[in-house]
């Protein structure tokens, strides 16, 4: 596999403020990459640097082997969709989609054919003669996508393309965009602060925080094996239990030792967080000799729809609380209610330890 895009040591400063610090990243040809991170972490800044819209302070960008670091946007090869869509309101949908084609000295017939093709591709075959203001947000979004794809760019950049839409439309468009991207095979970078969006759409996720990359990996990887406490906290929900590393595979929390995967990078005696996702907490059919067993009492029970989120307090030490997800079945079968006493287990292979 060849790298389509290579970002090396990219930095961007605004006055004294460092919006991006020494970011390096590779994107493989045909890949769908998501930049994920909290507001203000520099996702847009990185995307705009790649497009050349707001050039970096230092660092290099190579696209398809060509050094584009100092090229203006017009000399780079990309299509872009903004959060606002930036459709030209005074031009029809067809004129919007054909905007970049008109300039390429193609004849009218060829342009019209390509526009029809693109509109069909995004599922709006009849929208051609309408004006953007007459379309719904989701439809405008698709027109913007068709316009960006019209010139067959090698790289598609999407800056929070779905954030202005309501939940239902967003869900549908997620799948459509992903399917379209797979069909066309165009290398795509999408910025989002919605973890669910990133997890469902991306081939690889780039998690960012404070202008730096925290972790790059496939969605399962990011979710299952978060590299840092920040990633663990930002993607999905996570319990953080304060403790001390006693041995490479042992963490003591409130006087109780828990077995965990072997930690290489951490020194025994160090303060650490022992982490587990709420859905990984075991309650049912615990074998008698199971490790990391904790007797708890149900302190709170919040109905969330498909399941209930329970806050469990360790009976031995009220300071230690664990959040766990219980299915409705489980709640019925075990008769769980506030005040119920039960035993849980934290499976060692599901535990993560962070300094």
């Amino acid at each position: 596999m060849t790298n389509y895009l290579e970002v090396r040591n990219l930095s961007k400063r605004f006055g004294d403020f460092s919006a991006l610090g020494d970011v390096s990243l590779d994107v493989v040809e045909g890949e769908f990459v998501c930049f994920l991170g909290p507001s203000g972490c520099g996702k847009t800044t990185l995307l705009r640097a790649i497009a050349g819209l707001d050039p970096q302070t230092s660092g290099t960008i190579r696209q398809k082997g060509r050094d584009v670091s100092a090229l203006p946007p017009a000399q780079r090869d990309f299509g872009i969709v903004f959060q606002s869509y930036a459709l030209f309101p005074n031009l029809t949908v067809a004129a919007n989609v054909g905007y970049g084609l008109v300039n390429r000295r193609q004849n009218r017939g060829a342009i019209a054919k390509r526009v029809t093709e693109l509109l069909a591709l995004v599922g709006l075959p009849d929208a051609g003669p309408k004006y953007p203001a007459q379309l719904s947000g989701g439809q405008q979004q698709r027109v913007a996508l068709a316009r960006a794809l019209a010139t067959s760019p090698g790289l598609l950049l999407l800056d929070e393309p779905l954030s202005a839409l309501d939940a239902r439309v967003r869900l549908r468009l997620r799948h459509e965009i992903k399917a379209l991207q797979r069909t066309l095979g165009v290398t795509t970078i999408m910025v989002t602060h919605d973890q669910e969006e990133a997890l469902t759409m991306a081939d690889r996720i780039v998690v960012m925080n404070h202008g730096a990359i925290e972790q790059v990996g496939m969605p399962q990887e990011i979710y299952r094996r978060p590299a840092t406490a920040f990633v663990a906290d930002f993607v999905g929900s996570m319990n953080f239990l304060a403790g001390t590393l006693m041995a490479p595979d042992k963490v003591r929390v409130a006087g109780v030792d828990f077995a965990c995967p072997v930690q290489d990078g951490l020194a025994p005696g160090q303060k650490v967080s022992l982490c587990i996702r709420p859905e990984d907490v075991r309650v049912r059919d615990l074998p008698a000799d199971i490790s990391n067993r904790v007797p708890v009492e149900v302190a709170e029970l919040d109905f969330v729809g498909a399941f209930c989120r329970a806050i469990l307090r360790a009976r031995a030490s009220a300071d230690v609380a664990v959040t766990a997800d219980f299915s409705s079945n489980l709640i019925r079968d075990l008769g769980v209610d506030i005040g119920t006493k039960l035993d849980i287990a934290l499976p060692p292979d599901r535990l993560r330890v962070f300094a």
Binding site: F14, T57, S58, L71, F82, N90, V102, R104, P153
Partner: protein
């Protein structure tokens, strides 16, 4: 973006180069139109009549001539008194327009704008008819005379009223209904709501209105000329020095003295406005006044009274222009409109005005809109864009008379290659566009800031040259603002006196200037007639604009409809 730390040298695209070249050309044009004439004026103040440098001698002699210094005090006095009268008047009127239920609100709003369409000497002339030596109501004045400070102030109130009303209407219109609801819920009395919510909300509008009125009065020339009598002000002094005594150096000095308060007022306004944060957040709920009988009756009567006064002054000018021989033969006639009898140019000066106004509207609108676009959308190039911004704001602080004077010194210099423009229509257009540059530039900039900032990024990614997007998208979207600028330029070009009074040649004399000349020669009726023709023309153009806006553009701009 301005904060971006330069480090990496980024290559320039063809668009970037074109835009930068455009900014440089624009800076050059503005330098010629604004910067260099002002520089020439400044330099002239340090020369004697033969052009030798004499340092501050002119200024010393100015401040030690009591008569001249008295004019400065007179100007300050007139400006202060007018401001104190106009601002409260306009505030109540604007309050009525925005915060009460007024029958035929649009009519009252329209009437309040009438003075904008008239040359400033019109109210002066009307007052002469009413209270002059042979005025209708002369007896009411007893021993007093309308010639002097009283007449100037009354005419200035008429002339400045719409400017203050416009600013205050805008300030009062942007109110958040939720604040008033909150005050209501808290049980605040009406008086308390007014002093704790309404007035603070309009604070910046009030300051702005006061400064604008003050500057308008300080720098206006037409009114003091017509009805000032022996009451000299700075503006008439400049005129007398330059036209009467051909003392250009002293004229330049008085011009600089005139520039000081205008520039100061402008700076104060800028500083104050910078403090203003957006009162109207995106979530604000617009305030819609509910009917309240007693309040509405009071404000309706007030508006009726003010409107009647405005219409009376306009009506007096119209009537006066139709009368055979005031006050002895009140029979009606159109003779006064046969301008050839009073001025060798006849109707030509009117057509000159129309041509000049059209030229200024076309050239000015293209320059202002394209210029604002270049300055907004050019990437990088901060220094040069800063220079353009400064030159675009400068005219606001410069009285027309002062700019006109600068034009004489700059363009009439024998070694200036642009000398050929002197005494042509071209210089009148240039001067008018320069004089009114700031408002047009601001209107265009505001409109450009309201459209999606990513259009240029999109067209760059689609490899479409930026100018194509300007022509196909940006300009069409901003059409309403573009028309506003054009109409603004046309109306002001029709009515302006002060900025062009030094610059016309016999065959390029303008209607407003001809009116001053005719009035000076003593034929008030013909001067009134010329003013009426100007009012009708500019008002007709504005009306055509409104009608076109309502019917024609609604059709041209289907895309705005949902």
């Amino acid at each position: 973006m301005s904060l971006a730390v330069p480090g990496l040298k980024v290559g320039l695209s063809r668009d970037d180069l074109m835009m930068r070249a455009g900014v440089v050309v624009l800076a050059g044009v503005l330098l010629v139109m604004v910067g260099l004439p002002l520089w020439a004026l400044l330099a002239k103040g340090f020369e004697d009549r033969d052009g030798k440098f004499i340092g501050l001698a002119n200024y010393v002699s100015y401040f030690s001539t009591p008569a001249l210094f008295q004019s400065a005090l007179n100007s300050l006095q007139v400006a202060s008194v007018t401001t104190v009268i106009v601002v409260p008047l306009a505030f109540v009127y604007a309050y009525a327009l925005t915060r009460t239920v007024l029958p035929m609100r649009w009519l009252f709003q329209g009437i309040s704008l009438i003075p904008i369409f008239a040359p400033s000497l019109l109210p002066g002339i009307a007052l002469i008819y009413l209270f002059g030596t042979q005025g209708f109501f002369k007896a009411l004045l007893g021993d007093g005379s309308i010639y002097g400070i009283d007449g100037i102030v009354i005419a200035q109130v008429f002339y400045c009223f719409p400017h203050a009303t416009l600013i205050l209407t805008t300030a009062l219109a942007t109110a958040d209904a939720r604040l008033y609801e909150a005050a209501d819920v808290l049980g605040a009395s009406r008086r308390r709501v007014f002093f704790t919510v309404t007035l603070p909300g309009a604070k910046y509008g009030l300051i702005s209105a006061a400064l604008v009125v003050f500057t308008l009065v300080m720098t206006d020339f037409g009114i003091a000329k017509v009805i000032g009598g022996n009451f000299n002000v700075l503006a008439t002094d400049v005129y007398k020095k330059v036209i009467g005594q051909q003392d250009f150096s002293m004229g330049a000095v008085v011009g600089m003295v005139l520039l000081a308060p205008a520039a100061l007022a402008f700076l104060v306004d800028r500083l104050v406005q910078r403090k203003q944060v957006a009162l109207l957040t995106a979530r604000a709920v617009p305030l819609v006044p509910r009917p309240k009988f007693a309040r509405d009756l009071f404000f309706t009567l007030f508006c009726l009274l003010v409107s009647a006064a405005i219409l009376a002054i306009l009506g007096m000018a119209i009537w006066g222009s139709l009368i055979k021989y005031w006050p002895y033969n009140l029979g009606l006639t159109l003779d006064n409109y046969d301008f050839a009898k009073f001025d060798s140019n006849g109707w030509d000066s009117y057509w000159n005005s129309v041509r000049m106004a059209l030229g200024a509207a076309v050239f000015g609108t293209v320059l202002m809109f394209t210029g604002a676009w270049l300055n907004e959308k050019t990437r990088g190039f901060g220094m040069m864009r800063g220079v353009v911004q400064l030159l675009a704001f400068l005219p606001m602080a410069v009285p027309g008379l002062v700019l006109g004077l600068g034009y004489i010194f700059f363009f009439n210099a024998p070694n200036n290659p642009l000398n050929f423009l002197y005494a042509t229509m071209g210089i009148l257009v240039l001067n008018t566009v320069a004089h009114f540059y700031t408002v047009g530039h601001l209107t265009a900039t505001t409109a450009l800031k309201q459209i999606d900032p990513e259009f240029e990024a999109v067209s760059a990614s689609l490899k479409v040259p930026i100018w194509k997007t300007f022509v196909r998208v940006t300009a069409p979207i901003c059409l309403p603002a573009i028309l506003d600028i054009a109409i603004y330029l046309f109306v002001n070009a029709m009515t302006t006196v002060s900025s062009v009074i030094f610059l016309y040649a016999p065959d390029t004399k303008l209607a407003s200037v001809a009116a001053v000349n005719i009035e000076e020669a003593g034929t008030t009726a013909a001067a009134a007639a010329l003013c009426v023709v100007i009012v009708l023309t500019s008002a007709a153009v504005k009306a055509a604009h409104l009608i076109a806006d309502r019917f024609l553009f609604a059709r041209l701009q289907v895309w705005r409809r949902r």
